[in-house]
Symmetry: C2
Subunit: 190 residues, 2 copies
Amino acid sequence: MRLLEERIVKDGEVKEGGILKVGAFLNQQMDVALFEEMAKEFRRLFDGCGVNKILTIEASGIGIACMTAQAFGCPALFAKKGRTSNLSADVYTAQVESFTHGGVSEIMVSKDYLGPGDRVLIVDDFLANGAALNGLIKLVRDSGATLVGAGIAIEKAFQPGGDLIRASGVRVESLARIKSMSPEGGIEFC
Amino acid sequence: MRLLEERIVKDGEVKEGGILKVGAFLNQQMDVALFEEMAKEFRRLFDGCGVNKILTIEASGIGIACMTAQAFGCPALFAKKGRTSNLSADVYTAQVESFTHGGVSEIMVSKDYLGPGDRVLIVDDFLANGAALNGLIKLVRDSGATLVGAGIAIEKAFQPGGDLIRASGVRVESLARIKSMSPEGGIEFC
């Protein structure tokens, strides 16, 4: 998606250690006009697939998920990291290793909100090693819902997650796929 | 806001210990069509105030913040809890006590995204003792931005946060104000 690629080049910052900072427009400050365009593109890509629920993981996927839900006319749902007192005891869970925080965390979604009647599009801001996406896929499968596919804003295509998950049979559509990046050389898209 | 009050009565669950579960439509599963109506109401209430940024706190405020940002035609921004590797070192911080998690956490927002040029509307899903809202107000004040006010989905008006913050001179508009609630007696609005 040209609009997103151009924005990454304009306002993204490549840091050492494979980190791309896009907090200016994607995952801390959120340009919702851009999100609307991204949501329309997800709608175009997954049109006719009967999507009736958008699933993401807190926190940075939530904005994109809400705008995508608006485009599909369905609810959005986010998996939580760790247990809180206002979450039902009856949850689907998965283990996810965090790239940005380090360590392993448990993600979970209430059984009340995901089940066999759902046709789920997973959305997230980043796909790199695939840890978060694999966790979300497990939640969908455990619930008996149908996984339609995954819509990702930015895929680090030089990391193996996307290809491995596609090879497992899941449809993954990424709006911007980064082939390589470095603080000196900038960003090259696929 | 009648639409929200009706939805709270229909799909909310009052638990022991002053907990209102609204995960079915507000803070885990998110009814974005409802959020659109809430956002329109915030726009109506704060119209003409020059709002150019919506600020919230992760995670459950983000969806409402994005829809509100769409209604105002401005970006949304969320404060993070705890430090991560992809957040700038240069941040405004505040201490916030959590009602649902217990304990105190540090919230922060990058200095890159909040400053003297901003006219900020804070939005959040709940207002009870005011801990999160006070933390967000501190971030806005420390940044030199102008605080226009706060738009809250559900205020537990039987807890002191809202009145204390209003008494300090901040305009707080809550779409549903709960006067009392109990598992046996149900919910009474102000």
